[in-house]
Amino acid sequence: MAVEKFPVEAGHIMMFARSVGDANPIYADENYAKTTETGGIIAPPTFIQASSQYDPDASLRPKIGQKWFGSGAKPSGSNAPTEESLAGDAGGTSGGGTGLHGGQHYTYHRNMKPGDILTAVSKPGQRWEKESKRAGKLIFSESITEYSDQNGELVVTARSVGIQTERVVDQG
């Protein structure tokens, strides 16, 4: 994933906090936030994940004018992202198996806040395989992403672990 410009906006923070069920006013009420230690609205800990909204190549967002792999009248699936294009993304389906998000790890260098303009640069991390009873061979691949602000200062470092399964995870 590469994001040239992720403008952190108050409205987006408010909606993101709602979507994770977090009613904390520090994410929505500027007057309240001013009275706290942070001195203003900040973003919730996992907000940086929403940077994919600003990734022109994000494979898990429908693109105008392009075929989407979700259902219309019928389930499609024919246009699913491949494993390679999913590095750093959370999920997807290809072949008989499934791309799953195995884990996510953040190191926070400072709080994200409205007005920040972040840039993300990703590089591949380690890659390993494991056998599992529930889904056959699992291929793990890491992606390390550094998010920096408009002054070049590091804001968040993220390590994402993707898992490509050989088959659908057995629910038994």
């Binding site: 929403a50 994919s52 898990l60 979700g70 998000h101 884990g103």
Partner: protein, 139 residues
Amino acid sequence: MSLKATDINVGDEHAEVIVNDLSRTQLVQYAGTSGDYNPLHTDELFAQEIGGYPTVFAHGMLTMGMTGKMLTNWVGDGRLKTFGLDFRTQVWPGDTLTATAIVSEIIEEDGEQVVKADVTTSNQNGQVVAIGYASARLD
């Protein structure tokens, strides 16, 4: 309000119910804010007929986002230094999740008091859905 080093001890536990009867609408809501529109999370036809799953399931990052709410309620706003989770099994519509942090260490780091905690999120059956860690600055 932030947590004070003098107020906590290794082994202390903080737990919160982070979602009760998870709705399919919340999955749609999270897709919209995060930008992860993977149909496995919102498209029943796709999840069943293409994905081979019994129904749609939650984004791992939704579970992590809700778990983060427990952490910030506990340590205070803007105090986290690290937060990581491994997703162990799927979270389904209808699930009720409880997130728990247990103090593993209280250390001094970069001239500050820092709490390290083991973090676990479990469903209504006691099954662990996500497990990891967090650390945060203390007063």
